[in-house]
């Protein structure tokens, strides 16, 4: 399955397209698409140029966990730099 990720235009933060068609910083709230449908959804997402930039598809499993060969990269994007655990979304979940 696929999810759609991008960087928010205003601050560059990592976001995912949610079930409510809004952008969310939480991968757990991301909508999941069958591989066949994902391209069309992505094309629609890419046109939202006032909200985001650099949208693309990532591979996730049925539970929404990142899978595939970009797992390390997407895990780092999701949480923050592994060398600064006080920064990024990972810092919030620590507290």
């Amino acid at each position: 399955m696929k999810a759609i990720t991008a960087n928010a235009l205003q601050d560059g933060a990592v976001v995912y397209l949610g079930d409510d068609d809004q952008w969310t910083p939480h991968l757990s709230s991301a909508a999941r698409f069958e591989d066949g449908d994902a391209k069309d959804v992505l094309a629609a997402a890419c046109s939202r140029i006032e909200e985001i930039t650099e949208a693309y598809l990532i591979s996730v499993d049925d539970s929404g966990a990142i899978i595939g060969r970009e797992t390390i990269r997407e895990t780092i994007r999701k949480g923050g730099p592994t060398v600064r655990l006080d920064l990024g979304l990972q810092a919030e979940s620590c507290g």
């Binding site: 205003q10 990592v14 060398v83």
Partner: protein, 551 residues
Amino acid sequence: MYRYDEFDATMVAERAAQFRGQVARRLSGELSEDEFKPLRLMNGLYLQLHAYMLRVAIPYGTFSSRQMRRLAHAARKYDKGYGHFTTRQNIQYNWPALVDVPDLLDDLAEVEMHAIQTSGNCIRNVTSDQYAGAAADEVEDPRPWCEIIRQWSTFHPEFSFLPRKFKIAVTASDNDRAAVRVHDIGLRLHKNEAGETGFEVIVGGGLGRTPYVGHTIRDFLPKEHLLSYLEAVLRVYNLEGRRDNMYKARIKILVNAEGADHFREMVEEEWAQVNQPGIDLPREEVDRIHDYFEAPAFETLPANSTTLEERRATNREFARWLRVNTVAHKAPGYAIVNISLKPIGGIPGDISDTQMEAVADLAEQFSFDEIRATHEQNLVLPHIRKDDLYGVWAALKAAGLATANIGLVSDIIACPGLDYCTLANTRSIPIAQRISERLADLDEQEALGELKVKISGCINACGHHHVGHIGILGVDKKGEEFYQVTLGGSAAEDASIGEIVGRGLSSGDVVDAVEKLVEFYKKERKDGERFLDVYRRLGADPFKEALYEAA
């Protein structure tokens, strides 16, 4: 010291205002990302994994306390309280919001700073020896020539859309601290037999996916012809460099395809045709720029300081820092102080806002207000009285900036890697941290001597792995991080490209590998031999054996 004239002030202010308008149009959706991207890149603004990244220029690595304080302010106000010094004497902010960047650039412009020439296919920010104007071993201060290159290259209309980016470095010492042999153009100021100074012109060096040591195409270029000769080199490159394939577009590919001799002929032919008197600066202008760099008013001091010697004799930690982190100054009674941004287990090149302010205070009080950034991701206080060294050390120590490891195994260059960078395949910083922690003992490090470890998280080689005595390149293998070791590289006057010694290693194994290599070196070295010397004497095979035996 470098300062703006009225042209620079106007240019930077106009550029900042122009970019403010471009950002507003992007935010409103009037500009698409495809339209905006080249504009933001011309202003040093990248998009990385987690956020935007702004790269701020520090021309030839020289800046003032006031500028450093403003960098600290920007880190606090627009970022997350820190900055990252790069391998090109610049500083990067990892988290600025696009909406804030126009204000950030305005704040920088107030202290004569900007992000021009830090991105795009133009002549990039010129780099130089971090000890320029202070080193005992230099022929003359190279920075006036860097400044002349800066003025000539900024917004040069003919060279704003080159086939690829273009990097020029200048040194004025036989001990090359500016890596001039691995730049698109390297310039080495030296004296000819008549005692005149001029430039050795080296072209076609570079790292990246196709590393080359540059070729000397002129042993001695009279200084007054610098700009017209550079113009000739750039014209040949701009016309003949490949534009069909970005991986083959750097000048090094052209020079090596044509052969150095033919490339030299092409340049000489072009040079004969360019309007030399119209391009080369008149004597008065050269003198005027040299006046910017007048040496500070050094006091007349005895060569040795008794207070320093007393401290040295009684404080072992201070004595070590003196041995490792200070360098001979050209003025008696002064020393050059290196500030390591490589604390054991730390992130190479990172510095907090409060540390920036501590450095600014010390520079203002003790170093004629001058600070330098180095291409090895450290800082320098170039002019410290020997009498003041103990106080400076104590203040640096209090700020967490007194690690005595300059040039040693834990003084590692590492690119940001996959922790920040969209291009990276693997992480670099954690490898640097683990090597630094594994070999943390400073007595042991000092006993090992000069040992340059350089780590890149992808083939673009921002971590300079090709020229590491030990180089480490991260490669992605089916979604796993692996690291390839290269040996025998050097970015100094004895420049060479390291050789790959074998199969890639896991992140855990690569730290063990460095330790094995170090142990092998210790066993084999003869008096005074550095790691690199032993490698060059013995060749790759015994090192390979040591690395992979019973692995």
